[in-house]
Amino acid sequence: MAYNFKEEMSKPERLSGGHRLCAGCGAGIAVRGVLRALDADEKAVITSATGCLEVSTCMYPYTSWNDSFIHAAFENSGATCSGVESAYRALTQRGKLNEKYKFIAFGGDGGTYDIGFQSLSGAMERGHDMVYVCYDNEAYMNTGIQRASSTPKYAETTTSAVGKCSPGKAQSRKDLAAVIAAHDIPYVAQTTFIGNFKDLHEKAYKAIHTPGAAFLNVMAPCPRGWRYPSEDMMTVCKMAVETCFWPLFEVENGVWKLSYRPKNKLPIEEFLKLQGRFRHLFKPGNEALIAEIQKDVDEKWAQLLKKCGEEL
């Protein structure tokens, strides 16, 4: 089935407008992009971790969710969704339910990489027929831009402050997609908002329609936390991919496959310079910090090419 941008964008929204996410928030875009990969006749139950997405889309007595939706807490989107999916199997096998349902769990990077990591790992290992989608904005944005294990090196956050004794976050980001791929689940992919959203759509479609556990890591920028004008989101995402800071790939039944290889891999500055969280790196004397980030990106890119069987 060929991807048709116009058709996809004409589908009825499963996440209604009128929610309270910030203008230009990556979370809402990620959710709508993933839910468009549900077929029109498919029902779904959506789970969300506590976070921007949850507090902005389901504030009593309103809900933006046209599908059934459950939020339980911050660190348990994986486990909660696994319970819903288990109930589905129980009710289906007992003949109490005759509809097909899909199960999609959302969590921000805080709820996924960090506090919800165990719950996610458990749900993936048990092989529930569900998709876990991390909308990764690289810090705890809901509580006010604190560092996470997803935050890139030297980024400024409110708990990896920049000052004369610190150039921002000291550690590199955790490669969560690789960690989840090591669970040997049928489908893992990393994507973001690129071009006409084909990459996100196709990966979401595969994730939703692959039996068993699937994981999507969607880079979903936060204009507030990354400090860039909202309207620049597509440029920021494009630069993340063209610099190989955020490579697009999938792991299908253990086979790594690169989804996109930039013709001219751009220097990391092209990504960093768009964002206020890296502004301090461009002060004179900090050249070595950028060089270090570049080295890190290059090494990880080379490792990824190797995993994907690509020439270096």
Partner: protein, 393 residues
């Protein structure tokens, strides 16, 4: 005909689970509740039940998956003890506020630290304000009966609250006891089908569960939970009456033992009530008018019933198998004394903390507590309201 058997408390609850055949059971093993998920796993492996058993990676996930499952429309159970219940803590409140009638077999064990695997009530007492109904068993028979009734209580439309069916770790859970069981079909008929009015997996109507509740609504929702807990009092008695018609075994909020003319009373929870009844018998033989109130239902708390039963005694020993470090006594002590206020004005009360971390409670220990009551009455002393029983000083 009822079935006569010999079972431990864990076996009795597992037997009831097999009879109920719930839809989903997420669970994580922890001593002394571990046998329950083991039995369920074996029942599933044998094809005796078709419950979806979800062997989660922690108790936090056990309660989270239970919330997802029950909200989805499936009858869901779990079992745990001690630190396992503590790890569920956050989610216990969520289960209650989402009004999900999950049934949890709590096999009471001391909380860490220091780590200790034996019985006291610190785990479930710590969770007493989480919005769960709590019912405590004295022995395996009660563990079985309470467990079966829990579904009917929690799932009742006027209640819709989760239920913790508690029994004492090892003492009840592992000791083998004579027991009378119901036939499978009678249990199934009594418990009935679970048909929630609202659920996630309703093809006719989507549902959002667990919304962000602002200042404009949160307090109203808490009041609704409080009303549900109040409503549970009637439902608990109604269900007990129906169960009595089926089994001949009578249950209420409390069990009164030789209280009619009692001058010295004890209020106690769980397996130690059995020991205390022996102590009461021995004291009665010596001419002491001793009596006992066993608290079966702790949440909702039967304060009026307890106060009415204590009205005419001279002194009462309130027995807590949990510390609360309030410096004025344990949780049962606080609730009982609050209930007595204005009703039992002339009753002296001593709150004893006993049996922590599995410290053995013998007939003589109980008699010692009664002895202290006699002493304060005889000397007309103002009792030290908070004492330890059976501790080396």
């Amino acid at each position: 005909m009822a079935i006569r058997e010999r079972l431990s408390g864990n076996e009795a609850v597992s037997y009831a689970i097999r009879q109920v055949n719930p839809d989903v059971m997420p669970a994580f093993p922890i001593t002394p509740s571990t046998e329950i998920p083991q039995f369920i796993s074996q029942y599933v492996a044998n094809g005796q039940i078709d419950t979806i058993f979800v062997p989660v990676e922690s108790e936090h996930s056990a309660m989270s998956a239970s919330i997802g499952s029950e909200a989805a429309g499936a009858r869901t159970i779990t079992a745990t003890s001690s630190c396992g219940l503590a790890l569920m803590w956050e989610m216990l409140y969520v289960a209650a506020s989402c009004r999900l009638p999950i049934v949890l077999a709590c096999i009471n064990r001391a909380l860490s630290g220091p780590i200790n695997i034996n019985n006291d009530h610190s785990d479930s007492m710590g969770a007493r304000d989480a919005g769960w109904i709590q019912i405590y068993a004295e022995n395996a028979q009660e563990a079985y009966d309470n467990y079966i009734m829990s579904f009917r209580i929690g799932e009742h439309k006027d209640v819709l609250l989760p239920v913790m069916a508690c029994q004492d770790g090892f003492i009840t859970s592992h000791a083998v006891d004579n027991i009378t069981l119901l036939e499978d079909e009678k249990v199934k008929a009594f418990v009935g089908e679970y048909k929630p009015e609202k659920c996630l997996l309703n093809p006719a109507e989507a549902l959002s569960v667990g919304p962000y509740d602002t200042v404009h609504y949160y307090m109203e929702h808490k009041k609704q939970q409080a009303v549900a807990m109040h409503n549970a009092k009637k439902v608990i008695l109604d269900v007990a009456k129906e169960y009595e018609e089926l089994t001949g075994r009578k249950y209420g909020f409390i069990e009164k033992y030789k209280m009619e003319d009692a001058e010295y009373a004890m209020v106690i929870i769980g397996s130690s009530a059995g020991t205390a009844k022996d102590a009461v018998d021995e004291l009665r033989a010596q001419g002491v008018k001793a009596g006992l109130i066993k608290v079966r239902v702790y949440r909702p708390f039967p304060g009026e019933e307890i106060a009415a039963a204590l009205k005419n005694v001279k002194a009462v020993a309130i027995m807590d198998k949990a510390e609360s470090f309030s410096d004025i006594g344990g949780p049962l002590g606080a609730d009982v004394r609050a209930s007595m206020f204005g009703v039992c004005n002339n009753v002296k009360a001593i709150n004893f903390v006993y049996g922590l971390g599995g410290r053995d409670v013998k007939v003589d220990d109980i008699k010692c507590a009664f002895g202290k009551l006699e002493e304060v009455v005889k000397t007309d002393a103002i009792p030290t309201g908070y004492q330890y029983l059976g501790v080396r000083e």
